[in-house]
């Protein structure tokens, strides 16, 4: 019975199929992206040439007549006619631009429309769009419907200025806009500068043909079947030795992936070379066309092949290929780990046993699974995804990138945990550094301990009073005292925020009634903390009271009778009967309460909102702000993961301590 061998063959076949398919799909995607980038680069080169042309033509004053050369590529007769009738001097520059644009359009059949916008006077200086003829022909003012065009130009202008003045390391805005329209044409736009100022914009609609790329079925099949066949042959020699079979199968899979990785790197390098060649050819074409249209001053084609920030694209093929190789290695390493895990799962018979169990207990699983799947998808997957995120520098701008590119290892954790700058030096001397993790941690611990202390003591005292025999109005007191627990805590938080308002809040009215001065509660850390404490104390004591009351009522009264017979004092009865009986109910309630308070988002977020200056943030609100105000998702995830670890350690420790003391007692 060749069962081990058969399982490993099946396992390898499945693992290799998935790994090879994923690898092929990634390669296909990368190829498509490169072809797309190539098409975009070509379009940008055309746009840059056009911008240079407009710049030269528009920059020419009336004193320097344009020197058009006759017989340029595809010159229309109407352009020649326009040249003859050089009209009013004021329109000279505009006319030159229009002529240049018309020629450029004539020599580029793929371009559907060119529009030149002059910001001064919101002018449409030139247009070859089909709609802009007759009474709508350029030059004219932009119309209301063309506001998008104007806004686009202003966006580019703002981007150019922002990038020029922007601080080192600040996020840069694209200076060239590239948008793909639904009908397949691309719309590109670039700013026109004069004397360092952005004075206009050139926009063109052009048909861009992306070269299609075929999915590599043959390499995929080879990558899938080669290791399976190889393993089949080798396994004949290995026989039924399980671990050896596993090792050989894993090796086959990894060698296969390595080979596919080499192949991918080669393919991508080929794509890069093709891109470089195509773009270079395109630049020389454009240069030739340019010179037939406008001879002086000579164009600068070295500045045409640029990215969206108008920075020359990296020319060094070595660095690009090395970057490709790194990406491929990372992706395939991840696939390798997954593949080997799958291989082991099938090969060691776990898959078979899982399948059997699923069939045997299908009724039970049918009932249990819907909820479990929901939990898996929306609780456990996000949890582990969050953990993975904590090892990346993911932020608002790179969420679309694969995780392999944003991976930074444990850097977030070391950044958070190794920053001991709890205080910082400012003009006023040493002050607390409120954004420091340890400051917030200490604040959160103080917050939790004081809250739980208040909640437990107040709850316990009230429970003891309400448990007195013959205490009048007990049920009424009980119902009224539970009300804070019943109030949704976001409403409570907002109510307290209002009551502690500096000018109109009721608390300051009361202080003034007794002759005091109104307090600006949220201007000092201490008072702000007191307001939070009051709010949380208000909403949390009823829980402790109800729990304690329940536990007190379950103490059999004959215990007290016996104690009284033995002559125990009231205090002795309390310490030796009441408190020990409360323990089993109070300990879990305190654990729960510590966890709730530690993560009491609503009170910290809605009451003080961290005021003043973030000094009253607790860990959970701090991580929320990092995520949703600074958009540093990876850093915030690491922050949250640390919160989880703290609580987890606390829970484990508490469990052990209380469990141990119970065992002793």
């Amino acid at each position: 019975m060749a069962s081990h061998r058969r399982r490993f063959v099946i396992g390898l076949a499945v693992a290799a199929l998935l790994a090879a398919y994923a690898g092929a799909a990634l390669l296909h995607g990368a190829q498509k992206a490169e072809r797309r980038a190539r098409a975009a680069r070509q379009a940008v080169v055309t746009l840059s040439a056009l911008t240079d042309l407009v710049d030269r033509a528009g920059g020419a004053t009336a004193a320097v007549p344009a020197t058009p050369s006759e017989g340029g590529m595809g010159l229309g007769a109407e352009i020649a006619a326009a040249e003859q009738g050089q009209a009013k001097p004021a329109g000279d520059a505009g006319d030159a631009v229009r002529r240049a644009v018309a020629r450029f359009a004539a020599s580029h059949p793929e371009i559907k429309a060119i529009r030149v916008v002059d910001f001064e006077g919101i002018q449409l200086t030139a247009s070859t769009a089909a709609a802009d003829t007759g009474d709508k022909a350029a030059p004219r003012r932009l119309e209301r419907e063309e506001k998008d065009l104007y806004d686009l130009g202003q966006k580019l202008r703002a981007a150019v200025q922002g990038n020029r003045e922007g601080a080192e390391g600040a996020a840069r805005q694209p200076e060239i806009s590239i948008a793909q329209q639904p009908n397949g044409t691309w719309s590109l736009a670039a700013p026109v500068e004069r004397g360092g100022e952005v004075v206009g914009m050139v926009q063109m609609d052009t048909a861009v043909k992306e070269e299609p790329v075929a999915f590599g079925w043959l390499p995929f099949l080879a990558a899938w079947l080669a290791p399976v066949v190889g393993f089949l042959l080798l396994s004949l020699a290995v026989g039924e030795r399980r671990w050896l079979l596993a090792a050989v199968a894993a090796l086959a899979l990894l060698v296969d992936l390595w080979a596919y990785g080499q192949y991918s790197v080669k393919v991508l390098a080929g794509e890069r070379r093709a891109s470089a060649k195509t773009v270079a050819a395109h630049i020389s074409d454009e240069t030739a066309t340019f010179q037939t249209t406008q001879t002086t001053p000579a164009p600068d084609p070295s500045r045409w092949d640029v990215d969206e920030l108008r920075q020359p694209l990296a020319r060094n093929p070595q660095t690009r290929n090395a970057a490709d190789a790194r990406r491929v290695t990372r992706a395939l390493a991840a696939l390798g780990v997954l593949g080997v895990a799958l291989l082991a799962f099938v090969g060691f018979g776990f898959a078979y046993r899982t399948g059997q169990a699923l069939v045997e207990y299908r009724v039970a699983y049918a009932y249990a699974l819907p909820a479990m799947i929901g939990m898996l998808v929306l609780v456990f997957f996000p949890f582990f995804y969050g953990l993975a995120l904590s090892f990346t520098n993911s932020n608002l701008f790179n969420t679309a990138k694969p995780i392999t590119e944003t991976w930074v290892g444990v850097q977030n954790y070391t950044d958070i945990l190794s920053d001991f700058a709890i205080t910082k030096r400012t003009a006023e001397g040493r002050v607390w550094n409120y954004s420091n993790f340890y400051y917030t941690l200490i604040f959160t611990i103080v917050w939790t301990v004081s809250n739980v202390a208040i909640g437990v003591s107040l709850g316990l005292i009230l429970a003891l009073i309400l448990n007195l025999k013959g205490f009048a109005l007990r049920p009424l007191y009980r119902v009224l005292l539970i009300l804070p627990w019943a109030t949704p805590n976001y409403i409570t938080s907002l109510i307290f925020k209002g009551m502690f308002h500096q000018q109109f809040g009721i608390i300051n009215q009361i202080i003034q009634l007794f002759g005091g001065h109104p307090v600006a509660w949220f201007d000092k850390t201490l008072t702000s903390f007191l307001v939070m404490l009051t709010t949380n104390g208000w909403l949390s004591f009823p829980f402790m009271m109800v729990i304690s009351l329940g536990a007190l009522q379950s103490i059999p009264s004959d215990l007290y009778e016996a104690a009284r017979v033995d002559g125990a004092s009231r205090w002795q009865q309390f310490t030796s009967i009441t408190l020990p009986s409360l323990r089993p109910a109070l300990v879990p309630a305190i654990i729960l309460s510590v966890i709730w308070t530690f993560n009491q988002f609503n009170v910290a977020y809605l009451v003080s909102a961290g005021q003043p200056g973030g000094s009253t943030e607790i860990l959970i609100t701090q991580s929320y702000k990092i995520a949703f105000e600074q958009y540093r998702y990876g850093y915030a995830a690491a922050y949250s993961a640390i919160i989880f670890l703290i609580l987890f350690a606390y829970g484990t420790w508490q469990n052990r301590v209380t469990g141990a003391t119970e065992a002793l007692g």
Partner: protein, 296 residues
């Protein structure tokens, strides 16, 4: 009367304790009365009464008494007529109702399996429900935001919120339902099985009707989870017409707007139903919260 006298004999005097309890009671009730006073004051002001320039002690006392100068239902009328509060209320009702339906269905079926069947990974499954309660909200918030908004495209939709609320409520509901199912004798089902009833018939016709009280509590817990939730809704709903009540109420008094009258009226409308339900059901919730912990 005789019992009264005997009590007076060996019990200490209660009135200082009454004073203490009444003092706490005033602190407890005052914020609630304050909201009521603002809501019925007919104005948007935080203050119950305006103070004159040179306020006397009497004026100040008047300003803190939770009794509006003029009773007016204007805030209630206006919050519905002039503000999108009715819309938010409807949103909250829809989300909470869908959460309740889905949550109860999933919790009942799952709890039934954990209570009645013995199968591989049963313990692991039950533990998974418990452990999930420890995951911090913000660690989940970012991935959930990415999954719901960026991957599934469910930003600003009720579906996204309902899915999140349901899985939030499920663990507690499963543990509570399982505890209840455990108390229903198995003999009933066995005899039905002998009579030839199918597993589904037994579940829907016999077990669920017997577990009605627990189903009711589960339903209310799910409902309240969805009704009172703030952070997820604030993160996922970025269109005013899709706000739920908690996000909407914050909208009245957060940031630069200070419409306390609308806030107070809206709070009362939103809180009264859940407060009534809570008071009615709190003893079940307490036993559900503590049962697992005490046993463990």
């Amino acid at each position: 009367m005789s019992s009264n006298r005997s009590r007076r004999g060996d019990e200490p005097v209660h009135w200082p304790l009454h004073l203490f309890v009444i003092f706490i009671l005033i602190l407890t009730i005052y914020p609630i009365l304050w909201v009521l006073a603002i809501a019925f004051s007919g104005s948007q002001s935080l203050a119950i009464a305006d103070l004159p320039a040179h306020a006397t002690a009497l004026d100040r006392l008047r300003a803190i008494a939770p009794w509006p100068k003029h009773f007016s239902a204007e805030n209630f009328r206006s919050v519905f007529a002039d503000q999108p509060f009715a819309r938010w209320l409807l949103n909250s009702v829809v989300v909470a109702a869908m959460t309740t339906l889905l949550g109860v269905f999933l919790a009942c079926t799952s709890a039934y399996a954990f209570s009645r069947f013995r199968f591989p990974a049963r313990r692991a499954g039950l533990m998974a429900f418990l452990v999930s309660q420890m995951f911090p909200g913000t660690l989940m918030l970012i991935p959930l935001y990415i999954i719901i908004v960026k991957w599934l495209g469910l930003g600003s939709t009720f579906t996204g919120l309902v899915l999140i609320y349901t899985v939030t409520a499920i663990p507690f509901c499963v543990w509570m339902m399982k505890g209840y199912f455990d108390t229903i004798p198995k003999e009933l089902e066995e005899s039905a099985l002998i009579d030839g009833a199918s597993q589904a018939t037994i579940f829907f016709r016999i077990v669920l009707p017997l577990a009605k009280p627990a189903v009711a509590v589960t339903a209310l817990f799910s409902f309240m989870t969805a009704w009172n939730e703030f952070i997820q809704a604030a993160t996922l709903m970025d269109r005013v017409d899709k706000y739920t009540v908690p996000v909407g109420l914050r909208f009245f008094v957060g940031g630069f707007t200070q419409q306390w009258g609308y806030f107070a009226a809206g709070s009362i409308v939103a809180a009264i139903p859940v407060m009534a339900l809570f008071l009615f059901l709190q003893k079940y919730l307490v036993s559900g919260l503590t049962a697992g912990a005490v046993k463990g």
